[in-house]
């Protein structure tokens, strides 16, 4: 084994955590407000929707695919929940169910394209992305907002309320995090999904129902994303068409930043959490320092590319010494 390999492996695995910590300390020393409990809670609360979307994305990427239509599921979830309450007087808990079901149906459509028709996940979900965006524009007269001032209090509280002093958004995010952790990292289904994502033909020959799990991955991802959309509408008391798109690229970035920390560069739930928190912390910190918010995207890009390049170079060194021809 090359002498460079262990150093690189360490750097790749913990290098990002060091960067994370570095930024944390930087912000803490530069801004008095940053370390405030209320500010830290703000970061968590403000990124709950991204976390939920990124968890769904983690599942699809773990199964070997990608979901570019996650924003559509976010939009449709919140939109249809509002429509159900506003136009059909549906009780708010039921409206949430409606929203999630509609979100899940986006995943059903994706699965149909990917599993039945054999379209690649990238192109299938790109198609869904365009179709879903168009539908929103058609029914909102070109993307006009759908306000809902008389929103039931219970629904609003999803985003604005507290439970035992903890903001509800954080609670929803934490529950999603736990469920995904158990499903993807601690259950046999997660094992199988990881196997499919790593080496589909081997998983299939081992008797794993590959098609079935791909259905599950796309549907669960979309349903989860729609929860994010429901929270978003609850916070704003309105539905903003196409707003879900803003979460897509951050979710992908968070998943891959997280994957770069895994010894085999696998997408994983704890890694995704770290990725989301990092993105949230950086935008918050820049904001507090009064720096241009737009720096955040450049930083995000640099970190993402850096983390992945490091992971890849580690793999190359390891591959040269450890693996056979």
């Amino acid at each position: 084994m090359s002498r460079r390999a262990p150093a690189l492996a360490l750097l790749s695995r913990y290098g990002f955590l060091a960067v994370f910590l570095g930024f944390f300390i930087f912000f803490a020393t530069r801004s008095d407000a940053f370390l405030n409990t209320s500010n830290l809670v703000n970061i968590l609360e403000g990124n709950a929707i991204l976390l939920v979307a990124a968890l769904g994305m983690t599942l699809v990427v773990a199964s070997g695919g990608i979901d570019l239509s996650i924003g559509i599921a976010i939009d449709f979830g919140g939109w249809l929940a509002i429509v159900a309450m506003m136009d059909h007087d549906v009780a708010w808990p039921l409206a949430i169910v409606v929203g999630i079901a509609v979100g899940a149906s986006v995943g059903v459509f994706n699965s149909f394209l990917v599993v039945w028709l054999g379209v690649s996940p990238f192109l299938a979900t790109l198609g869904t992305f365009f179709i879903g965006g168009s539908i929103q524009q058609i029914y909102t007269s070109g993307g006009g907002q759908v306000p809902f001032r008389e929103m039931p209090e219970g629904y609003q509280k999803l985003a604005t309320g507290d439970t035992l002093g903890i903001p509800n958004e954080i609670i929803v995010g934490a529950i999603a995090l736990m469920l995904f952790y158990v499903f993807l990292e601690r259950s046999i289904h997660g094992k199988r999904i990881h196997a499919i994502g790593l080496q589909r033909s081997a998983a299939s020959v081992a008797g794993i129902n590959v098609r079935g799990y791909l259905w599950v991955a796309f549907i669960v991802a979309s349903a989860t994303a729609s929860v994010g959309g429901i929270i978003a509408t609850a916070g704003l008391r309105q539905f903003t068409p196409l707003a879900g798109f803003s979460y897509l690229l951050d979710a992908i970035a968070a998943v891959f930043i997280g994957a770069s920390m895994h010894p085999q560069q696998r997408p994983n739930v704890p890694g995704t959490l770290v990725g989301v928190l990092f993105l949230g912390m950086v935008s918050n910190g820049l904001n507090l320092m009064g720096l241009d918010f737009n720096f955040r995207d450049a930083l995000e890009g640099l970190i993402l590319v850096g983390a992945i390049a490091l992971a890849v170079s580690q793999r190359r060194v390891l591959g040269r010494s450890g693996a056979s021809a």
């Binding site: 196997a195 790593l198 081997a202």
Partner: protein, 549 residues
């Protein structure tokens, strides 16, 4: 060994070529000499080094040692370009043509004719049609798309592409008949002879000994990376009088052709050692029954059964349909006709998952792609098919139990290293294969199909795997070993099925079966199938083959 005078006179001289890959000496001072205007055969078992030396000649592999002379002049740098410049051409086994290109485009690919305004398509069409008609005796419209041609016609296009520039001095045919029917083979042979008579030298690589003795002037036999002899076939070639009919040319090794016996002896040249376990086969009830199975292209009308406690061998060279049959039984490929019963119950196999559920499991030939998830641990790979045994009802993975299960089977099979967290990628081939076996042992299945179970497995681990296979049978499972290693088939199996060109042509008990007899059966080419009827060479056979497959 050739001397310098011969080297100068030969069309091709490859001297003491050595080539090592990690863990394998693929070529060990191997030599090959081809005289001018000669059809020179090249034979040997799988792994003997035939394709390696061809790839060295093609500039695909760089030899560690040795020299290559073409037309009496040494080749200092062997790259695909320098070799091409010296007039060496290759007709590859797989049909390396683009399906949506026309015949003319294919013939002139990468050697296009330019006119005043870009490509001169009309000229290319005229030239390719003329070449096909005059040199190869085939009337093919230059505008026809490759995908609309028969496999035999595609082969001719490949040949035309190699020869159209008129610079060819030596043409290497690599298993050219693997995808052809009997009539097409005769046409091809006619063309090869015609090429020789225009002054071109031919290297003819094939598994089919009957073809070698029919068309070649001389043949060089490879074994274990060395050339072990060159036999003059002068008398057997170019039979006088009219071209032989299908049945005349279809004489098999079993009923004549003493030269084939000579070749086989050189090819085999080794004894079966005590690598194989002693066993007293006690066959019980029929556990797997396959009847009338066809996949519509690679094989048809396959019937056989396996009994508990029995090890059934399945063999056949490349193109025999053996691999396709294995994949179809496991549900990887679609069945066209026929049925399959396990323990008397009919089973519809549409996916490997269904096969596993029915109690039929496969150790695939391509271990690194299909057998294992290389980046997962030994434990995960062992438990892959039995995760529900180590989880709660809701699917919570009970790690301690999972660990215990994988350790138990890994220990039983002596997988090393003994750490269930080791990533499988870093295990040796033999240990990787044991991990696959351990996974299936844990399922308690009834039928085990092992495809090329010892490929890439070193000798020590090999005998362990044979012992395991014997153990499976003793434990009451039905076992199928599919392999092109004939000593392995004879050593481990109780009974063997031989496939040739998509059919099972022979079924023999292995006790008392001699290796050369088995070699003769697998390499009998059109001979064995001539009396089986020509039906399988019909359009269905061709239509199912994909370009490049």
């Amino acid at each position: 060994m050739t001397n310098t005078a011969d080297t100068k006179a030969n069309a091709l001289s490859m001297h003491n070529i050595s080539k090592a890959f990690p863990g394998v000496q693929a070529l060990d001072s191997a030599s090959l000499a081809v005289a001018p205007q000669e059809i020179h055969g090249l034979v040997g078992e799988n792994g003997a080094g035939k394709s390696t030396i061809i790839k060295v000649l093609a500039g695909i592999y760089q030899a560690d040692r040795g020299s290559v002379w073409v037309d009496g002049a040494p080749l200092d740098q062997i790259t695909p370009e320098t070799v091409h410049e010296r007039g060496v051409r290759f007709i590859h086994q797989e049909l390396s043509l683009v399906p949506h290109f026309s015949v003319a485009e294919s013939v002139f690919m990468a050697q296009e004719k330019r006119g005043m305004l870009g490509l001169d398509t009309r000229k290319m069409r005229r030239l390719s049609e003329a070449f096909l008609a005059e040199t190869l005796g085939a009337e093919i419209d230059g505008r026809t798309l490759i995908r609309d041609l028969t496999v035999a016609q595609r082969k001719l296009v490949q040949i035309a592409r190699a020869l159209i520039d008129g610079q060819a001095r030596l043409v290497v045919f690599d298993e050219p008949t693997a995808v052809l029917g009997a009539t097409d083979i005769n046409t091809l042979f006619g063309n090869i002879r015609r090429l020789r008579d225009t002054g071109i030298s031919i290297v003819y690589v094939s598994h089919y000994l009957s073809e070698i003795t029919e068309i070649c002037d001389r043949v060089t036999v490879f074994r274990n990376g060395e050339d072990v002899g060159t036999i003059d076939l002068g008398g057997a070639t170019a039979p006088p009088g009219p071209a032989p009919s299908d049945t005349d040319s279809a004489w098999s090794a079993a009923n004549g052709a003493p030269r084939q016996g000579e070749i086989i002896k050189l090819m085999v040249g080794r004894e079966i050692t005590d690598m194989y376990p002693d066993r007293k086969p006690e066959a019980g009830e029929t556990v797997l029954e396959v009847s009338g199975l066809s996949d519509g292209s690679r094989f048809s009308d396959v019937n056989f059964s396996v009994r508990t406690g029995e090890i059934l061998g399945l063999t056949g060279i490349i193109g025999s349909g053996r691999e396709a049959l294995v994949d179809t039984i496991y549900g990887i490929r679609r069945t066209r006709r026929g049925s399959l019963t396990i323990d008397g119950a009919p089973v519809k196999l549409r996916s490997p998952a269904q096969a596993v559920r029915s109690g039929l499991v496969l150790v695939p030939r391509d271990r690194r792609n299909d057998g294992l998830v290389l980046d997962m641990s030994v434990g995960d790979n062992v438990n892959m098919a039995t995760l529900d045994k180590v989880s709660s009802k809701l699917g919570w993975l009970m790690r301690a139990q999972a660990r215990r299960q994988s350790d138990e089977f890994a220990e039983q099979l002596d997988v090393r290293p003994r750490r269930s967290a080791t990533i499988v990628r870093f295990l040796s081939g033999g240990n990787q294969q044991k991990v696959v076996l351990a996974r299936w042992l844990a399922t308690e299945s009834k039928v085990f199909v092992l495809d090329q179970p010892t490929t890439g497995v070193d000798v020590g681990a090999r005998s362990e795997i044979y012992a395991l296979i014997a153990q499976l049978a003793t434990g009451g499972a039905g076992v199928i070993v599919s392999s092109n290693d004939l000593t392995e088939i004879l050593g481990i199996c109780d009974r063997v099925l031989v496939m040739v060109r998509g059919r099972i042509v022979a079924e023999r008990p292995t006790s008392g079966l001699a290796l050369d007899e088995l070699v003769a059966l697998t390499t009998s080419s059109a001979a064995a199938t001539a009396d089986q009827g020509a039906a399988i060479y019909g359009p269905e056979h061709r239509g199912g083959l994909e370009v490049g497959a």
